[in-house]
Symmetry: C2
Subunit: 477 residues, 2 copies
């Protein structure tokens, strides 16, 4: 029964983008809702994407010297309160544990919304000397933020993520690590998820609670809205002073450590859906597709067809993640299902193809059909997967560039946002008042001040005074 | 400074086993204590072991058709209470969340101590038809049990684990999966962790809250105490009735699903320490050793020595996990440190060795030194790792067998437990009263009724009436 629903059409993204999104997460069986309001079940098809993200991100981390650890999920209230900005940022949205077993707790604890405070407490004891630095630790875990409005993957009360937390002997090293991780994220988003991103710095208004500087990668979704897809924070020695995190340096004096943190979350799965999906369903970039190739036998009851399908599977299993759909549904139904689930390539093989030594590859991203010799399948399929991966990035980049605009004054900016949705580049004077005004008037937020600065004018888009930065604006998830 | 402490001797296990254990977890840098009472930090050396356990266990799971998912960490109180035995078993030891953000919750939620109730709630909606069965799902996550007495890895308020939860159309299939997973655990413990285990069934007194049958693998530690190392439960349709988990069967009638669950935890790291460790520190089985080979250069300031060490590293990196210790500590210090950390092999290489084309392999488990030709290192090291893995299992099995005793009556049993600690095999009438009596008198618990039943007598060790089962007893962690 669940299957029958699957191939009914989903809402068109042009009609109702939010409903289109919800239809995909449900019908591609990525998540399910639960009795726990605002929390979701990540089902096998969704979790397998997360496993591929984890594996490839973790390998990249380790190549830069990151080590994984695990810290407790609870933060005593007194620990959360040690850094003023941080507690103000997070206290309104944490879940509080007040009872353990049959006894009320002496001090209540929150479920971690993020673990800066725990890492500070840990490093304060763990690091004594400059010889112990740097410490470059990361953990994979779930965190809780008590959001009022929730949406699958994009904003849920509990979500999965990785959080890296590092300490360094100098401010320079901390800044270097912060930027290194931001670039690692950008490269991962583009090369693995096929999502082009703008790298830049958040304004003071938008930076992380307690950070000196927050860097971000910003992606543009199909509907023109921005999605913050990864952030990297430099804390300077602010937390170190609040938590007494000192070390003996080479010159035998006590110094404060310099600290960073950086994270990516299951929200990336939402980014994949909204960057690549279409009206037939999910479209997965090959590198994070749990099934890269689905073989669909035609007239599978005819002698030799299923055997050939499984023979091809065995051949392809050496070079990609492959399955055969040998259920008793019709081929048309199977095609629709394979499209809904976003398998990058489907292989069609029937009695006639077998006779001719041929089979048909169908690209999910373009729906192009390519007839090939069966004998070539082991080389053609990996080549095509690479091509799809590359093309998906370029197509997304084109869409992003076509929806990036320039505005020189409020009138132009207002006109753009009244007609369309996308990134708007402007100059800015770096005054918070202008940022506040733009948010109030246009209901858009600053996304980032790109590393790759361009001069698109001389004066601030809002106040007209001399500008110091180019900045991106957008409506955001 | 941390390093200096490392090579001070640890407490001998014969003097104080508990202190020996604590010394190892601290000095091999596996864990650290935290401000959160009863919760620990798993440090890089500890977490890397867990990653190897996860990877190898997960591969074995997937080979049997298991799919990974993620369910919420919170359980609403009403959901926890649906199954009577289950709530009685867990309610006294859960942590309660009573406030989300700034508002008190309408219904309090506990942090999952285990997720049967959440999976039931999920499967009740997710499964409609016999075509949807079986569902064989697993999740890797952390759980919380508000223990009063805690010990690193063995018993902590939060721990990491995997929990598999399956539903099936028939009682037979559920039982088959329960036993399959127990055998998978036993095989994993023996082949990967080099820990021999006794497979068997728990008594009704010791089974899991809400289960029809609990199966267990029981291992024997160095000190003769038993450690339950993995469990697999058959729930019959008890939860299904409590949660309304029905499906339409082939015959078009509604039936209740049959359910299993099974789990292994970070406690396994404790089992590794207490099965293989010695008075020099940790001894890691090669298959879960994050570093399998540590190359220690002798007179490393002499020309060519460090170059040769890194050349060997490059060669060995193709066949094992290897590092060079090129710090400025003395070789003797490095040897002691390598022993504390449990690296299965250390390679000693100095100017003289290089001249002769030789190097020395030192086994961590036996401390045996083996001189080999450098040219052979790429084949000799993997061979030796395999030998170590095998020998460690056999040594542990010998220890286990030497500490397994037979008792025919209470007098014999009392004598054994007053003189030593180990497994005691007896016959049993299956009467709960006898089990209670033995626990009260001897402060030991039933460990399991082994699948491999032997006849070690005719009458119950306690009451002397005709016996129906052979059973293992022991002092347990």
């Amino acid at each position: 029964m669940a299957d029958k629903k699957m191939v009914e059409a989903i809402t068109s993204m042009d009609v109702d983008f939010a409903q289109w999104y919800t239809d995909i997460v449900k019908k591609a069986e990525l998540i399910d809702y639960t009795s726990v309001k605002g929390c979701m079940v990540i089902k096998p098809a969704g979790y397998a994407i997360w496993e591929l993200i984890q594996k490839q991100l973790d390998e990249r981390f380790k190549a830069t010297g990151v080590q994984n650890v695990y810290l407790p999920m609870f933060i005593p209230e007194s620990l959360l309160q040690k850094e003023k900005d941080h507690v103000e940022g997070f206290a309104p949205e944490v879940a509080w544990v007040t009872q353990g077993g049959l006894e009320p707790l002496q001090e209540r604890m929150c479920v971690r919304p993020t673990s800066e405070t725990l890492f500070c407490d840990f490093y304060a004891n763990d690091v004594q000397s400059y010889r112990d630095l740097p410490r470059v630790y990361n953990q994979w875990c779930s965190v809780v933020r008590w959001e009022k409005e929730t949406r699958p993957f994009l904003r849920s009360r509990e979500f999965l993520w990785q959080e890296g937390h590092t300490v360094h002997a100098t401010a320079e090293e901390a800044e270097e690590r912060t930027i290194m991780m931001l670039n690692l994220y950008a490269d991962f988003a583009e090369q693995v998820l096929a999502i082009p991103v703008v790298r830049g710095q958040k304004t003071d208004k938008e930076k992380f609670a307690g950070a000196v500087a927050t860097y971000t990668i910003e992606a543009l979704m199909h509907d023109g809205k921005a999605l913050q897809s990864g952030t990297s924070h430099n804390f300077g020695d602010g937390f170190a002073r609040a938590f007494g995190m000192q070390f003996t340096d080479k010159d035998n004096t006590l110094k404060y450590m310099h600290q960073t943190s950086w994270g990516m979350t299951t929200r990336l799965i939402g980014a994949i859906i909204m960057t690549h999906g279409d009206n037939e369903g999910l479209v997965l970039p090959p590198k994070v597709a749990p099934i890269q190739v689905c073989i669909i036998p035609i007239q599978q009851k005819k002698e030799g067809v299923l055997d050939k399908a499984f023979e091809l599977k065995e051949t392809l299993a050496k070079v990609c993640r492959v399955k055969v759909d040998d259920t008793d549904k019709t081929p048309g139904y199977k095609f629709a299902e394979a499209e809904m689930r976003g398998y990058p390539i489907r292989v069609e093989i029937g009695p006639r193809d077998i006779e001719n030594g041929k089979c048909v590859l169908v690209r999910r991203d373009t729906r192009e059909k390519i007839e090939i010799d069966i004998a070539d399948i082991e080389t053609k399929v990996p080549e095509l997967l690479e091509t799809i991966q590359k093309d998906m990035l370029e197509r997304a980049r084109k869409h992003r560039d076509e929806h990036t605009y320039v505005a020189h004054n409020m009138e132009e900016m207002e006109k753009i946002f009244s007609e369309t949705t996308g990134f708007v580049k402007t100059m800015w004077c770096e005054d918070r008042a202008c940022e506040d005004m733009i948010k109030e008037k246009l209901a858009v937020t600053s996304r980032c001040m790109p590393f790759a600065q361009e001069t698109v004018g001389d004066t601030c888009v809002c106040c007209g005074k001399p500008a110091t930065k180019m900045i991106y604006w957008g409506k955001a998830y």
